[in-house]
Symmetry: C2
Subunit: 205 residues, 2 copies
């Protein structure tokens, strides 16, 4: 059985991870989206298991204790995390799964799941990144400067990734990511691993 | 300046390297085809520098002596080889170049040019490979058996390659190879190398 790939899509704040990921899911309906677990209350229309796995604080802490999360973090009093089980069941079923996540979370996932394919989304230039960060709202110059400093620091984490994809145009970025997924399935090691599994299965039969 | 990639397409005899390579050049006109040097006489319609670089025996031996070939071999009294200069000039110009070559030649190229992308074309099954080898002509069973033995030995060389592409359908195989080329351009190392070059160039300017 051909296993799926865990594709981790990350990059600095403001680079457009969410937009690229949505477009990718639209273009490639067989790509499963990793659903996060959270302790925050569901908003109107949000469905458990589709938008999030909604958990109580106790349930979430139990997941942490049982190493049932590939990563987790706390924002504004709520936990968010990536359930390992959902990822592993998807991969076992032969489907690829994509996880869109900020850079710190991606590094934690890499520790627990180094066999993933780590893609770093890069802005076409720092000017474009600043425009995107500025364009988000009406924040003052200090906040924008701070966000830019953080984004530039986050850029340095590119060294931990397998691929760098420039987000110059959404369609072009999606095409590159789709190509990476096809190419990774053709990696010689994966091919030989599958061959061995086929051999073993036929020997057992 | 973004450099091109040397794509080496190889695989066992009868797998369909030539057909896939022709189709790929047809689909992707910006992919340059590596032109071989040879000492055999030009056939009607063959153009020097397009079909082959036609050389005298003396010229060819001088190329060997000067390490001007990425690999060479002798068949039926004629030399054939891959001129290093043509490959390197193409890469410097920023274009990708594809070299279609049998497995032994590919290994020699890998020694001299390890930064190439080595793709091994795989038959969908050994039965299909046998059909293709048999279908080529009216050879007797002994010759076909010998060719199959060679092809199976050649299959073991897959371990020296970066990628394995199954040639189940020409279009599908071409799509995989095109995806590999796009993905290789997105490799983090290549991206950072280009960034450094841009930095150095702007510092010098």
């Amino acid at each position: 059985m051909k296993k799926g790939l865990l594709i981790v899509l990350s990059g600095p704040s403001g680079v457009g991870k969410g937009t690229v990921c949505s477009e990718l899911r639209h273009k490639q309906s067989d790509l499963v989206y990793s659903v996060s677990a959270t302790t925050r209350a569901p908003r109107t229309g949000e469905i458990d298991g589709i938008n999030y796995f909604f958990k109580t604080r106790e349930q979430f802490q139990e997941m942490i204790a049982n190493d049932a999360l590939l990563e987790h973090a706390e924002y504004v009093g709520n936990y968010y995390g990536t359930p390992r089980d959902f990822v592993e069941r998807t991969l076992e079923s032969g489907k690829d799964i994509i996880l869109e996540i900020e850079v710190q979370g991606a590094l934690k996932v890499k520790e627990k799941f180094p066999q993933g394919v780590f893609i770093f989304l890069v802005p076409p230039s720092l000017d474009v990144l600043k425009q995107r960060i500025t364009g988000r709202g009406t924040e003052n110059a200090d906040i924008i400067d701070h966000r830019m400093t953080v984004a530039v620091e986050e850029m340095n984490l590119i060294h931990y990734y397998d691929y760098a994809v420039v987000n110059d145009q959404i369609d072009a970025a999606c095409h590159r990511i789709q190509s990476i997924i096809v190419a990774e399935h053709c990696r010689r090691d994966r091919f030989i691993e599958e061959l061995e599994e086929v051999k073993e299965a036929s020997e057992k039969a």
